[in-house]
């Protein structure tokens, strides 16, 4: 029982991170129908930039804030200089542009921070809390708590602010939104910035638990992508549920089946989901127009 609880704790922690990454995918996908393969690099940049600012002598909180701002700017730049100029290109071309961006960011991070793993101190202490015989890291509580706050904040953003409603409008019908006077370009810029900020936050939260390096983005990004599709591409609740389901499944598989094949869980799940219910758990039932 204690063991099950232990796996559940680590599963929910990782799952919350996947959920944040998946939300980032969903934000950009909804606004622009682009799958941003550089999403994982936002996560990496957030973690490493915080490590950099802390090393430069800043306290953790301002360092984290600066890192998030920096990644938001990177998100803006990605939309402005790489995705927007290629508007109208095919899905494959845009996939390759964002993959190019991810290689570019990885290369940049490698130049700035080197190839080593870096460690960020835990926000509040390293002593695990014992619950029902299972150990829970205080950092896990930070991960879960902040993710929950982000979800509530996003709900408020989309439900009650003009910018959020404009984003929803663009995701429903781009042309109609444009005709209502919404600047689509500004919405797209916002979606990339927001998504960059979410990614960076995820990277900062997880860095004290898993260490961080210029390469961590690839796997986190791909698994976040899996979570987004498992939940239903473009669905907010879907991204959260997808992330948690994947995180827990991964922890259980690592504990009870084989830790060597832990990384395969997300990808097996994605194949099963895509073949059995292509729209994902919360996906819209697609009808094809000819």
């Amino acid at each position: 029982m204690a063991q099950l609880l232990q796996f559940l704790f680590s599963g929910v922690t990782v799952g919350a991170i996947y959920a944040l990454v998946a939300l980032g995918f969903a934000l950009i996908y909804n606004a622009s129908h682009v799958i941003n393969f550089a999403q994982g690099e936002f996560v990496m940049l957030g973690g490493l930039a915080t490590v950099g600012f802390v090393a430069a002598g800043l306290p953790l909180a301002p360092a984290a804030l600066l890192a998030i701002l920096l990644t938001i700017l990177v998100g803006f730049a990605l939309q402005k200089f790489a995705v927007e100029p290629a508007r109208g290109a095919s899905v494959v071309s845009i996939i390759i542009i964002t993959i190019g961006a991810s290689i570019f960011f990885r290369g940049g991070a490698q130049v700035i921070w080197g190839k080593d793993f870096h460690r960020l101190p835990a926000f509040t202490g390293e002593d695990p809390i014992l619950i029902g015989g299972a150990a829970l890291l205080p950092q896990s509580l930070w991960v879960i708590g902040v993710s929950a706050v982000v979800v509530v904040a996003l709900r408020w953003f989309f439900g009650s602010t003009l910018a959020g409603k404009a984003m929803l409008a663009v995701s429903h019908n781009r042309l109609a939104a444009e005709l209502c006077g919404i600047s689509v370009n500004r919405v797209l810029l916002l979606s990339f910035g927001l998504s960059g900020g979410l990614g960076a936050l995820a990277g900062i939260l997880i860095a004290p638990i898993t260490l961080t390096s210029y390469q961590v983005g690839t796997m986190l990004g791909l698994k976040g992508f899996c979570a987004a599709i498992v939940g239903g591409l473009g669905s907010g609740p879907g991204a959260i549920v997808g992330g948690l389901v994947l995180g827990i499944a991964e922890a259980m598989a690592a504990g009870y089946i084989s830790s060597a094949y832990k990384d395969a869980v997300a990808f097996v799940a994605i194949l099963v989901v895509l073949v059995v219910m292509p729209g994902g758990i919360f996906g819209k039932k697609g009808t094809e127009r000819v």
Binding site: I97, G107, C226, I229, V275, P278, E288
Partner: protein, 314 residues
């Protein structure tokens, strides 16, 4: 004469000429090695181009087929003592069967979903290759025996250049023939519109899985050849980044252009070598070049240049 020298035959003759003349221009082993690697990648890309360029289906997992071919050659010939050619054939059959088994459910998907499913498949295979230490040697890789016929050992850059050159020419020839055949026309129809194609009596699912299997077999054979040439194989050959590399070669060269695939392979194989001068900045520059090319020439190099050339003539 004009009837005989169709664009297809002229192209094949030009390719044969280029392969025959190139060794005269290559100054040393370093360049021979690069030419061989370009040829091997080009074989994968010619196959992948049938899937991406002609049938309009993306695969972000083709390196897995390449890697499986390489490991089939390695394992069958090193551990079971089979002749490398038999290992290679067995690998290609195995990979084709695997591709056939997964093709129908996976190719029902479209766009991002198809990208994700092929990506997932590729990553699962590369994880298996990494983890099954007893068979594959794990992340460190394993040595691959040299091809030999009796006492004659196949070795040296010059010998391999001709082997790969002939293999590349054959794969281009096969690909061009396929494109001109009824199945090739069916594939282009599928690319245009699946619904329209099926109303014309084309079995869309069958056409798609056929081209998927063919492109997987191309990748498998190129993987086997690469393994025997390098005499070593590591799981990174089957990894996600390798898959991305192959797709990028195809798209950069120009989709639905067989020679474009070859040129894309040449550029992207040679570029990292050229960028090695930048040391730490290699990835940074590579990523920037990739983005810039796709933004400026979304259709790819060869089609864009051909259009420009035609435009300036008229």
């Amino acid at each position: 004469m004009a009837g005989f020298w169709t664009a297809r035959r002229a192209g094949l003759a030009a390719l044969a000429l280029a392969i025959a003349v190139l060794p005269l221009l290559l100054p040393n082993k370093f360049y021979f090695n690069m030419a061989i690697l370009i040829g091997l990648n080009a074989i994968v890309c010619v196959g992948l181009n049938l899937l991406i360029g002609y049938a309009g289906q993306i695969s972000l997992g083709h390196a897995a087929f390449f890697g499986l071919g390489a490991y089939a050659s390695a394992v069958f010939s090193a551990k079971l003592g089979w002749h490398p050619l038999i290992s290679m054939a067995a690998g290609a059959v195995m990979v084709s069967l695997l591709a056939f088994a997964v093709a129908r459910p996976i190719l029902k998907l479209k766009g991002h979903y198809l990208a994700m499913a092929t990506l997932g498949l590729g990553i699962i295979i590369s994880i298996v290759l990494n983890r099954e230490l007893d068979v594959t040697g794990g992340p460190d890789g394993m040595p691959v025996p040299r091809i030999r016929f009796g006492d004659v050992r196949v070795r040296g850059e010059h010998t391999w250049y001709w082997i790969v050159g002939v293999a590349l020419w054959l794969s281009v020839w096969l690909s061009l023939n396929l494109i001109e055949s009824p199945i090739g026309r069916a594939l282009r129809a599928v690319h245009g519109s699946e619904v329209a194609a099926s109303t014309l009596g084309i079995d869309v699912a069958r056409a798609k899985s056929f081209v998927f299997v063919v492109s997987a077999a191309y990748a498998s054979i190129a993987g086997s050849l690469t393994a025997h040439y390098l005499e070593f194989v590591t799981p990174s050959e089957a990894g996600f980044l390798r898959s991305v590399e192959f797709v990028t070669m195809v798209v950069l060269g120009g989709m639905a252009s067989t020679y474009g695939a070859v040129i894309g392979a040449a550029i992207l194989t040679a570029l990292p070598q050229a960028l090695a001068a930048f040391h730490d900045y290699e990835h940074l520059v590579f990523g920037a070049i990739l983005m810039a090319t796709m933004i400026l020439m979304p259709k790819g190099l060869v089609p864009t240049l051909v259009e420009r050339f035609r435009g300036s003539k008229s």
